[in-house]
Structure formats: C-alpha cells, structure tokens
C-alpha cells in the first residue's frame, strides 16, 4: 500500500522528534504564549540540566558540564543584574512621569524647542542644586532668549517676555512649578504653567519646550535598551507573580497533549487515542491477563494504551500473547482493533530500528 505523504512526514517526525525534544518545543511555545511562565519553565530546564550533569559527573568523573552550568548561572545572574539595574532606573523615571514621585533632575541648563505661531519657541531651563527637594535639585529659572526666535515684537514676543518675567529666579511661580513637579505628574505640572491670553499657540509651544527640556534634564534614559528587553523577555514576570493555576493547567496540558500525540503520529495507532479504558476487550479476549516482568497487564487494553503512549517495546512484548482471534475488535464499542494497533506499533518500531542501523552504518563509513 502506498503511504500517503503526510503519513510519511508524520512518522519521520515521530521517529526524529523524541519526547524530550517535543516537550522542549512545547515549553518554548507555551513560554511565547504565557509570559508569566517563562521564568519558571527556564528554571525547570536549568534544574533538569543540572541534575543530568551531576549524574554524568558521578558516572564519568568529569565535571565540565556542571562547571559550565555554574558558569552559565553566574553569567546570567550578572546579565540579569545589569538588566535589572537599568529596569529599576527606567521604572523610577516612568513612575516620575506617571505618578507623584519627584523627578531626578541633573543640574545645568537645558534647552529645547517647540513650534510656536510663527516659528520655533526656544526655551532654556536652568536647574540648580538647592537641597530643598527630595532629590536635591530644582528648577531655578526658565528663560526664552528673544534673540533665538522670531516672535519678536508680535503678540507672541510679548507673551514670551511676560513668561520670562514670571519664571525668573525666586518668583512665586517658579516655587509653585517646583512644588507641582514634586507632588504631581509631569503633564499636570506643565498644565499649571500660565497661558497668556491672546497667545495660545505661543504659550502651548512654551509649555511643550519646557517639558522637553525637563525630560532632557532627567537623570535616566527614557526607554529600556534592547538588551534589557531581551533579558526581560524571559524574566519579566518572576515567580511571585505567576498565577499558580495557569501553571498547573499548562503543566497538565503539556503532559496530556504530548502523550496523546504519539499515537496520532504513527500510522495505524491513531485509533488508540479514543480508547476509553472500558475493558470490554479484556472481557472478550481469551488471554485477559498477562504477567510480564513482574507486572500485571489487562490484555489487550494495556497493549492499546502502550501504543498510545508510544511504548512500542512493550507493545511488541505484549503482542506475543495475542492469538489473533479478533474477538476484542468485535466487542470494542468504538471498534479499536487491538491486534492491528499492535502490529502498526511493531512495524513502526522495526522501521525505526532499521533506520538507526542504517544511520549507524553510514556514520561508520564517514568516520
């Protein structure tokens, strides 16, 4: 019988991608879908690797694997620390913009521009150390040197002059602005900068420029770097934030899904997936109970189940007990034929072994 292409493909997949690889692939997929689980899954993989390398070390007396893992661990700690430091700074900055935590301003004069009615409005914000605010630095004055823009003489120019006057050092306005910056969000604080009647556009540009200048004066960069983004892709939601339930569900789903997948991959054993452990076949079978390697099996149901799990060695051993009377398939409520499932499993096992031999022989020639 000609094997359909998808069957060949599936069986190749089943033969190549053994269970650990499939589990790893699932894990990766889940980690893409559920950010909350990434850290945990990584940790699990790491622990498994550690256990494996310890086993290897005990067996062979070579500890390079464990050493490498410790190195990896230390290195990732460093990487994480670097990323966390950056993230902390960004978080503080963001909170400053979004919440009521004071800005952390550097001293100096900061300049910025924004489009006004007839041209750019240029603003200088001078920040000096005062010791009054929690961060130590405050806005000293806001200035908009008239020579730097073209609003001279017009309404806008007068407005700017007025503003420059209002926000000269030591005024009530400057004090209010500083207080607003400490207690309110940046946007709200900017809103409190006066608008000059009749020069709306100019006032707006003035405000915008002041805001940009203040952001420039802030100690930290505005955004996370790509590096931190990358690290945080894996570690963003640490274990404390993980919903237990999501994890539990995902764990079960992975295990279930993988263990049913095997039956679907191999031609002829797919029907085993729908077995519902009803044991009707056991009642019909003349063999019924098989003792193998000290374990008792309900025959042929356990053979079908072994095929579903992909334990083809067991299927092979169990299939020796079958007398091929097909009483079981007649009785099974969903028509699973235990002997045909078993033979399909054994056939797959043989094919896999043959392929392995071929590969080994091929490897030998090249080596």
């Amino acid at each position: 019988m000609e094997t359909a292409w998808y069957n060949r493909w599936l069986e190749a997949f089943a033969a190549k991608a053994s269970r650990p690889w499939r589990l790893a692939a699932f894990t990766f997929l889940i980690s893409l879908l559920y950010p909350g689980t990434r850290f945990f899954l990584l940790a699990v993989i790491f622990i498994v690797l550690v256990v494996k390398s310890v086993e290897y070390g005990v067996k062979n007396g070579k500890w390079w694997g464990l050493k490498a893992l410790i190195g990896v661990f230390l290195f990732s700690c460093l990487v994480y620390a670097a990323a966390a430091a950056e993230a902390y700074r960004v978080a503080r900055y963001r909170r400053a913009l979004g919440d009521t935590i004071p800005l952390d301003l550097k001293t100096g004069i900061y300049e910025a521009e924004a489009d006004g009615a007839r041209g750019p409005v240029h603003v200088q914000v001078e920040i000096i150390e005062t010791g009054l605010s929690p961060t130590g630095n405050l806005i000293h004055r806001i200035d908009s040197p008239l020579e730097l823009h073209r609003e001279t003489g017009s309404i806008g120019g007068n407005a700017i002059k007025e503003l420059n006057y209002r926000y000269r050092p030591g005024t009530e306005k400057i004090r209010a602005l500083n207080k607003d910056l400490i207690t309110r969000r940046l946007d709200q604080a900017m809103d409190s900068i006066d608008g000059i009647t009749g020069a709306t556009l100019t006032s707006r540009a003035y405000r915008k420029a002041v805001k940009t200048a203040i952001i420039k004066a802030h100690r930290t960069p505005k955004k996370l770097s790509t590096f931190t983004h990358f690290v945080y892709f894996f570690l963003k939601n640490e274990i404390s934030k993980i919903s237990f339930n999501t994890l539990a569900i995902i764990f079960i789903l992975i295990v279930f899904f993988d263990y049913t997948l095997q039956g679907l991959l191999v031609r002829g054993t797919g029907q085993a997936v729908s077995c519902m452990n009803c044991q009707t076949c056991v009642g019909a079978c003349p063999v019924k109970r098989v003792e193998l390697d000290g374990k008792e099996y309900a025959f042929p149901m356990d053979m079908v189940l072994a095929a579903r799990l992909g334990d083809y060695e067991l299927v092979k051993k169990l299939s020796w007990f079958c007398v091929g009377c097909a009483k079981c398939s007649g009785k099974c409520p969903i028509g699973i034929s235990a002997p045909s499932v078993a033979s399909a499993g054994v056939r797959f096992l043989k094919a896999r072994e043959a392929e392995k031999e071929k590969a080994d022989a091929g490897g030998g020639r090249h080596g």
Binding site: N245, V255, Q279, V282, L309, K331
Partner: protein
C-alpha cells in the same frame, strides 16, 4: 434563525441517537466534533446568505466560549492525580488497608460494604480511575481468587461497586460533573452555593442507590442461578489475595488524602482563595512524583483520557447549538411539551430529569453541557422558584452522573460487565433502574428538606440561614423510607416474573420500569410541590402530570437498553477453577 436552529438541533439529536444505536461506529467525541463543524459551517452559510454580518462574526467566539475552563482543567488535574496514585501504588495501599479491616470487628461483611463504597470516599473525578484499579482486587474475593464469595455474591458485589464508582464523579470536588450545575445555580440563584450545593443529595442518593443496585442484581441473579448455593471452595482452603505494598503506596495515599482535605477546606481561608483545586492536585501529584520516584511513562498509562475529551467535545457541540439558535428551538420544544395539559410543567421536568438516562452516552459530561443551561432557562421560563430549580437540578445531576454506567458506547458499566465476562447489557437494566426509580427521587427529597434549607437566603436580611427542623429531618427519613420500600417492592415483584425467555423479560422490564417512572414522577412532583405550587397547578394535577412524565421517560429508557438477562457463565468458571 428558526429554520437554522431546527436543522442544527436535528443534526445534533439524530446523530447522537444514531451513535447510541450503533449505526455510526465512531467515538462519541469524534461524532460530536463532527456535529460542531457541520453546525458551524451551516451557520456560516446561513448567515452569509442572509447577510447577517454581526451574527457571522459571533459564531466562532460563541462556540469556543461555551467551553467552561474550570471543570475541564479541574478534571484534568484529578485525572492526573489518579494516574500518579496508580503509578505510585496508592491503590495497592487501599487494597492492603481494606484487607486489614477484615480482622477488625468490622469483619468480612463490614469490609465488603466499605470496599463497595471506596469510590464515594475517594471522590476521584471519574469512576473509571478507581474501578480500573480496584476491580481486579474485587475478583480476588471470588471463586477464582480466595473463594470467599460465591459467584452470585461476586456478581452482586461487582455490580454494587460499579454503581458506586460510576456515580462518584458527581460529587467530586475535583472536576466533578455536578460542578457544572453548581456553577449555574451558584452564579445566579444561590450566590454562596457553588462550593457544593449538590454534593449532599448526590452522596445521599448514591449510598442508597448502591444498596439498591445490589438488591436488584441479587434478586435477578438468584432467579437465574438458583443452583449456585454452595461455596466453590472452603474459605480456609482458598488462596488469600496477597498484596504487596511498599512505603511509596502509603506515602502517595497520605499525600492524596491531605490534598483532598486541603481542597475541601481551603475555601474557608479567604487569603488562600487564589489557590484552586487544580493547583493543589498538581502540586500534590508532583510531590508524589518526586518523593516516590514515579516515571512519567508509568503515570501516563494510568491516565484515562476519555472523560476530558468527552467534556470538551460536549461543550463544543453544545456551543454550536447556541449561535445557531438550536438551543432556543430545544427550549421551545420543551415549552410546547409543558403546554400540553396531560404532561404539564411537572411531567416535562420529570422527562428532563431523566434525559441523560434516556440517552446514555459514554460520559455524562457531554450532555450536561446542553441540559444544565436548558433546565435552568426552562425552569425560569415556566415560573419555577429558585428552590424548585435547585430540586430539579439535584435530581437531574444524579441521573446524569450515573448515566455513563448503562451506556452501550463504552460506558463505564461495560467495565464491570467485561470483567464479569457477562453479555453486554447484563447490568444495564439495574443501572438504569436505580437511576430512575431510586436515586433521582431521593436526591430531590434530600435537596428539598436538608440542603436547600442550609442554602436558603433570608429574604429580609439577605443572610444565609439554616431553617431545617427536626420535622424536616423526620420528613426526609419518612419519604426516603417510602421511596425505598416502593422500589424494593418493585424489584421483588419484577424478579419473581422474569424467566429465561427474553421476550417476556423485556415486557416485564418495560412494565417495571414504567412503575419506577411512576415512583419517580410522584416523588418529584411532591418534592417540588412542598415548596410552592408548581406553575399554578393543583396538587392532584401535578401528581398526574408527574406520573405521566415518569411513565414516558421510563418507557423511553427501557426501550433504549438492550437488556439481556444472560448473565456471566457460571459453569465454565467452576470448571476452570476445578481444572
């Protein structure tokens, strides 16, 4: 909309019945998913042709959205736990403990009673888990093992155990079937009740139902094998079942018990509410895996996939009925039935309660997804009070959870039949009968008198109150005794009438089922009546309606089961043992 709903509903029902009768030989899950796909395609075509863009867009979301995640994942957690327990040898430990009980004052009889009720105590989410593990042990009591029990006794024993197993999925806190209904009731009617309003009635009627299953099978088997009166072997001469258990088994059992207790009591600690049953059971399973060094492969052999797939498929199929309007059509059908004067609301409710026993699928979760919302909406529609809906739901759920036992589609009852080497259908009659005539009425009575009084809300203060009195207790016991006596009488009379002739047996069975239906109808009508008048009918009328509904349901059930009274071959085994 109407046409589309009718078509999808027809597809759903016809396909299901065809599967049930064996015309379609495919797993129910596959059939259901097929139904879902066909329904979706139909809906898309229909809405597409009509240019109903909004409905079109809603179809996929509506279908997927019907899958309630909590019961599914809780069930997965429970199945996982079961697999781990089996792999670690926890069930062996149960066997050893029970075996030891025989030397205590409980003696053999007490031990057997406890053994029969083990599923009810462990409360795993699917009866198959414990049945698969313990059935072989039960056989060791029979003539092939220690010879403690005669073959007829063994049959009774296994049957009672099976009844107990295949109802124990109802009251389970780990993804039990009743959780679906509890969610529905708890969400709207008894806001505080989702934690297990249906557990009490379930357990109560399951205990009694188990005993009646034993009685039923005893009388039938006695009739069929009158000659089986001697012990095949001397008790002393028999081989005692030898059970080897290591510490792993006991450890896993202890962890399981702790997890069960935690899952039951954690709802009383508000700060720990975020930990759910699934998490507890997965954590316990992982603990067992680590402590007892269980391999994943061993574990997976023990896991029974079927209930989980059945549940999801059921939700999907039910989901495909919603956007297409099949649900409304179904509802209007039952409304039409209720408008029929002879049947009335009570009669319709009796039929609805028995719906799953009429259509026994391999897992009750499939149809529960359809019927629970249906009963709720129907009840509201015909003006039942909240309490009355609660009563109907209790009776419905016990019937639903026990419906996997008599199913011919690889239902759990086949497990016991297969083990007994009986003809398929030997135990079916008894399974259905206990569901119909004993368990549903008792659940309704218990719900009415005991449980609902706990969960009732004081209309003035809005506080939960407990109003049950000694009078209620007395009434519960009285009613239960009356129902049990009636069922006992029915069983005795029926067993007198059956012979070796199949045709005659069938008639006897239909007749006695009809009487069982009458019993169910009367008790349900009374239980509902004791609250307030049902939909404005007088007591006499609702009694008559209940009786008629009960008879219709019972006859439908009797027609659905292909009964064979050909029991397990006795002679063959005697020879096998002797030879």
């Amino acid at each position: 909309m109407e046409i589309l709903g009718t078509i999808t509903l027809l597809i759903f029902i016809v396909t299901l019945v065809a599967t049930l009768l064996g015309w379609i030989k495919m797993p129910v899950q596959t059939v259901l998913i097929g139904i879902t796909l066909v329904n979706i395609v139909l809906a898309l075509i229909f809405f597409g042709l009509q240019g109903m863009a909004d409905e079109l867009r809603l179809v996929p979301a509506d279908v997927i959205g019907r899958i309630i995640l909590h019961p599914v994942t809780a069930l997965l957690g429970g199945l996982f736990m079961g697999g781990v327990l089996g792999a670690a040898g926890g069930f062996e430990a149960i066997k050893a403990i029970v075996n030891r009980l025989r030397k205590t004052p409980l003696g053999l009889a007490g031990t057997l009673v406890i053994l029969i009720n083990i599923p009810l105590i462990t409360m795993l989410p699917c009866g198959r888990i414990i049945a698969a593990a313990l059935l072989p042990l039960l056989f060791m009591f029979g003539p092939e093992g220690s010879g403690t029990l005669r073959k007829t006794q063994l049959i009774v024993f296994i049957a009672a155990f099976a009844r107990n197993s295949f109802g124990s999925c109802g009251p389970s806190p780990v993804g039990g079937v009743a959780q679906i209904a509890e969610g529905t009731l708890g969400g709207a009617t008894f806001p505080d009740a989702a934690a297990g309003i249906l557990r009490g009635p379930q357990v109560f009627s399951l205990m009694i139902g188990t005993a009646f299953m034993a009685l039923f099978i005893r009388f039938v088997t006695k009739r069929l094998y009158p000659e089986d009166t001697v012990q095949i072997k001397d008790r002393e001469g028999g081989v005692e079942p030898e059970i080897k258990v290591n510490w792993k088994g006991y450890t896993s059992l202890i962890i399981f018990a702790l997890a069960l207790l935690t899952a039951t009591f954690i709802s009383f600690i508000p700060s720990l509410k975020f930990i759910t049953v699934q998490a507890i059971f997965v954590a316990a399973s992982i603990l067992i895996i680590i402590v007892c060094r269980v391999s994943l492969g061993d574990l997976m052999t023990g896991i029974i996939l079927m209930p989980a797939t059945a549940m999801v498929a059921g939700f999907l199929a039910a989901g495909s009925l919603y956007p297409t309007g099949g649900m409304q059509v179904l509802q209007s059908i039952f409304k039409g039935l209720a408008a029929f004067p002879l049947l009335g609301v009570v009669g319709t409710l009796v039929i609805l309660v028995q719906a799953q026993t009429i259509l026994p699928l391999s897992c009750s979760r499939i149809l529960t997804a359809v019927f629970v919302p249906l009963i709720y909406v129907f009840g509201k529609g015909v003006g039942l009070t909240d309490l009355q809906i609660g009563i109907v739901m209790a009776a419905y759920i016990i019937n639903a959870t026990t419906s996997c036992a008599p199913s011919p589609l690889g239902g759990a009852g086949m497990m016991a039949e297969g083990q007994l080497r009986a003809e398929t259908g030997y135990l079916k009659g008894a399974f259905s009968f206990t569901s119909l005539a004993v368990m549903a009425p008792l659940a309704a009575v218990f719900m009415r008198f005991i449980t609902l009084d706990v969960f009732a809300r004081n209309p003035q203060t809005g506080q939960m109150m407990f109003t049950a009195t000694w009078g209620h207790l007395g009434q519960t016991i009285l009613w239960s005794l009356v129902i049990m006596a009636a069922a006992y009488g029915l069983i005795v009379v029926m067993s007198r009438l059956i012979t070796a002739s199949l045709g005659r047996n069938r008639k006897v069975l239909i007749a006695s089922f009809g009487l069982g239906g009458v019993l169910c109808g009367i008790s349900l009508a009374l239980a509902l009546r004791l609250g307030e008048p049902v939909a404005g009918t007088s007591l006499g009328v609702s009694l008559v309606q209940g009786i008629i509904g009960g008879i219709i349901a019972a006859v439908l059930i009797a027609l659905m089961i292909q009964v064979s009274f050909a029991g397990p071959p006795l002679k063959e085994n005697v020879q096998a043992v002797e030879g």
